[in-house]
Symmetry: C2
Subunit: 131 residues, 2 copies
Amino acid sequence: MTPSNVLSALRFNETGLIPAIAVDHQTDAVLMMAWMNPEAIERSIETGHAHYFSRSRQTLWHKGEQSGHFQEIKSLHLDCDGDVLLLKVQQVGGIACHTGRAHCFYRQYIDGQWTETDPIIKDPSEIYPDV
Amino acid sequence: MTPSNVLSALRFNETGLIPAIAVDHQTDAVLMMAWMNPEAIERSIETGHAHYFSRSRQTLWHKGEQSGHFQEIKSLHLDCDGDVLLLKVQQVGGIACHTGRAHCFYRQYIDGQWTETDPIIKDPSEIYPDV
């Protein structure tokens, strides 16, 4: 059971969510940003695996439940305003992005356009064979 | 003038904003997360200094305009869904947080409570003498 003071320090937005940034616990490289509701935070703390709230599916999302690319939480941090979480994680499989890349920020602004800078490590059709 | 294709790739939320994560360009350490509107993005690209949209003041916010702690943008990145920006920056003065700390994520979840883990580098009353 997560202590009540942990959630009460957080400022959720008008839809009951808080942004959560996941970074590699060894390199600090930003892997992704997603959203959590109180249940996702509780489940993350209890299980040690990152859980988010899927806004598109409007449901709890155990990251890696389909792909096997779980995120093992090494530490959990909160910002000054209490409205952003930071997770330092071990990214299982080395792939955080549903496009099959190590992280989600694979487009960079170069000379006036978004340019893909990071390779696909694994074909998404192999990651999500049943989708 | 920022090319129109740059903004059209972005998915702003229902209030016209997009989250922007600022990290140290050398260490990747997450400094803060704030929000941008199209004007903030345009100004950031044009000037090379991070501009955000202050939700509390509902106005464009040139980060460092009061403190001198500007953020010089080294590169700008976009995530897979087009709804999160990542800025790799040189943090002038080494202080990103209005509390006088290097970054905003100075609270860590330890043994059931949020514990302060990072020191105040400079007293906020010295950073914002006129506020």
